[in-house]
């Protein structure tokens, strides 16, 4: 097994295969890594209900096995969770999780050699609060009655406890302001080739559809992970057919195209930008949550953005935001965490991307996609 190879795989445990997002492969690979001591701990989501969960770092194989299944309305980001903990860890990760982890790696808060990243293809995730509202307004069902959720053929389907299925197309939901988080709509990382493995259901066709996970090996560490799970008897794999590989590439291309369209729609050029930024930021209460969750920030409590900002300032823009705009110009990965946590609903990711888009395009630098140093770090010249 080596870098670049692709497989279809599934869990050998029938129950996990059934509960898993596609074939339960991710759960089984994580469990095998823990079981065979490839890692000391694993990060998984602990479910509260069908649209809420908390991430946990665990060394308990059973807890890992319990976590099978995809939660589309849990927009977690695991990078900050494992930073500064010096763990030997394996974890599932959406594209933005992977990017956050790699950026933390560059800032020496995570040892990438000790981190096994199982990437999940991701077409986007939803905000739990928005999901609740959407269930009531669009689906006319009580959030408490939801029993399961899945995405199929562009439709978001909720199953209620009485066994009924309720389906609405994602396009229609997004037209009404629901559906995926805004940052997911214009995200172009649909298959995380920056992770050690990239897993998803795209490319699984025919009889196996829904019962197997398509996995691409992106690194030697990835090959080690998957081989370990096969050797330990946790997963079974086979080669995918050409048709599946082509289908996966086609869907990826189509999704990226849609994202680029969204990007144009969200970031229309505008005059009077200073007024726009001031208006958007006028309700800021200086809580600092956007920095605390930011998966590319590694400053800790004492940092330039907070230490030179005073609540009594009568400035027209806050120093806090100016410094963040500057620091994120080359480092923002567009994960949407800041917007998610803002208590006064400032669309922060949209603001940061206004600064990051031109800089990252000009420098041809995509943070979190490889190990290149952030261009701003070049101030630490080598000589």
């Amino acid at each position: 097994m080596q870098k670049g190879e692709m497989f279809l795989g599934w869990s050998t445990k029938e129950d996990i295969r059934k509960r898993g997002g596609s074939g339960g492969l991710v759960t089984s690979v994580l469990a095998a890594a823990l079981d065979k001591k490839l890692v000391d701990s694993v990060v998984v989501l602990k479910k509260i209900n069908d649209f809420e969960a908390v991430p946990v770092i665990t060394s308990d194989v059973n807890e890992v096995l319990n976590s099978a299944g995809s939660l589309h309305s849990v927009p977690s980001n695991f990078a900050k969770l494992i930073a500064n903990k010096n763990l030997k860890v394996a974890l599932p990760a959406k594209g933005c999780d992977v990017r956050g982890i790699i950026e933390q790696g560059k800032r020496n808060t995570i040892k990438l050699d000790n981190t096994f990243i199982i990437g999940l293809n991701c077409g986007g995730s939803m905000h739990p609060t928005v999901t609740r509202e959407m269930l009531e307004v669009m689906y006319k069902i009580r959030p408490e009655d939801v029993h399961g959720e899945e995405i199929e053929k562009g439709k978001l389907i909720f199953e209620t406890k009485d066994g009924k299925e309720h389906a609405i197309t994602i396009d229609e939901l997004e037209e009404k302001g629901y559906g995926r988080r805004e940052s997911c709509r214009y995200c172009t990382i649909k298959i995380p080739n920056n992770a050690d493995l990239a897993c998803g259901n795209w490319g699984v066709t025919g009889e196996l559809a829904g019962k197997a996970t398509f996995v691409e090996v992106n690194s030697e560490k990835g090959a080690e992970l998957l081989q370990n799970a096969v050797d330990a008897g946790y997963v079974q794999i086979q080669k995918p057919d050409e048709k599946g590989i082509a289908a996966r590439a086609r869907i990826k291309g189509a999704m990226e195209g849609l994202s680029r369209k969204w990007k144009e729609k969200v970031f229309i050029p505008m005059d009077n930008r200073l007024e726009y930024f001031r208006k958007e930021l006028e309700n800021c209460i200086d809580c600092g949550a956007c920095k605390t969750v930011c998966p590319t920030c590694s400053c800790g409590d004492v940092s330039k953005c907070t230490e030179f900002h005073y609540r009594g300032d009568a400035y027209k823009m806050s120093m806090y935001h100016l410094v963040r705009f500057l620091h994120l110009a080359d480092s923002c990965i567009g994960c949407g965490q800041c917007t998610d946590v803002c208590p006064v609903d400032i669309p922060l990711t949209r603001l940061y991307r206004r600064f990051a888009n031109p800089v990252q395009e000009e420098l041809k630098y995509e943070p979190g996609m490889d190990l290149r140093r952030p261009p701003y770090f070049e101030v630490k010249l080598n000589d």
Partner: protein
């Protein structure tokens, strides 16, 4: 105060070894320049943090000038290379923020270039007079 009488406030960061010397020579050589600049001397242009520039704007500067030794002449070997990197980011943030590009300028001026310093200040003052006060100027600051 009438529009003609308005003098912009320009903050110029100068490095001790070159551009500050340039400002000095401008005075010694009696080159005409408007009284619009406030010079802040730093040991090297590499010391100028984007934060200082933001602060100058937020406190009411109508323009901010970042100046230092010519590339290769920095007295701390590569301080101005670092300035160049920081400036690139700073410039793009200031531009995206919607601040006119004339309000932030970079120039390399040696200690003997008094004439260059004076004419730089004259040019910038002219440009800023046309633009008017900075949109970031706090209420009540002239």
């Amino acid at each position: 105060m009438s529009a003609e009488a308005w003098e912009p406030k320009i903050v110029a960061f100068c490095c001790n070894w070159c551009s500050y010397g340039g400002a000095d020579s401008a005075g010694m050589g009696r080159f005409q320049q408007p009284p619009s600049t406030r010079i802040i001397r730093v040991m090297c242009s590499g010391r100028i943090d984007p934060l200082h520039v933001f602060n100058a704007f937020l406190e009411g500067a109508d323009a901010v000038l970042v100046t230092g030794c010519h590339i290769g002449d920095c007295h701390y070997v590569n301080g101005n290379d670092k300035t160049k990197i920081k400036y690139k980011f700073l410039e793009s943030v200031v531009r995206e923020l919607g601040i006119e590009k004339e309000r932030l300028q970079l120039n390399w001026i040696s200690a003997s270039e008094g004439e260059k310093f004076a004419s730089f200040i004259r040019d910038v003052t002219e440009q800023i007079k046309k633009l008017g006060p900075s949109p970031l100027k706090p209420e009540g600051v002239s």
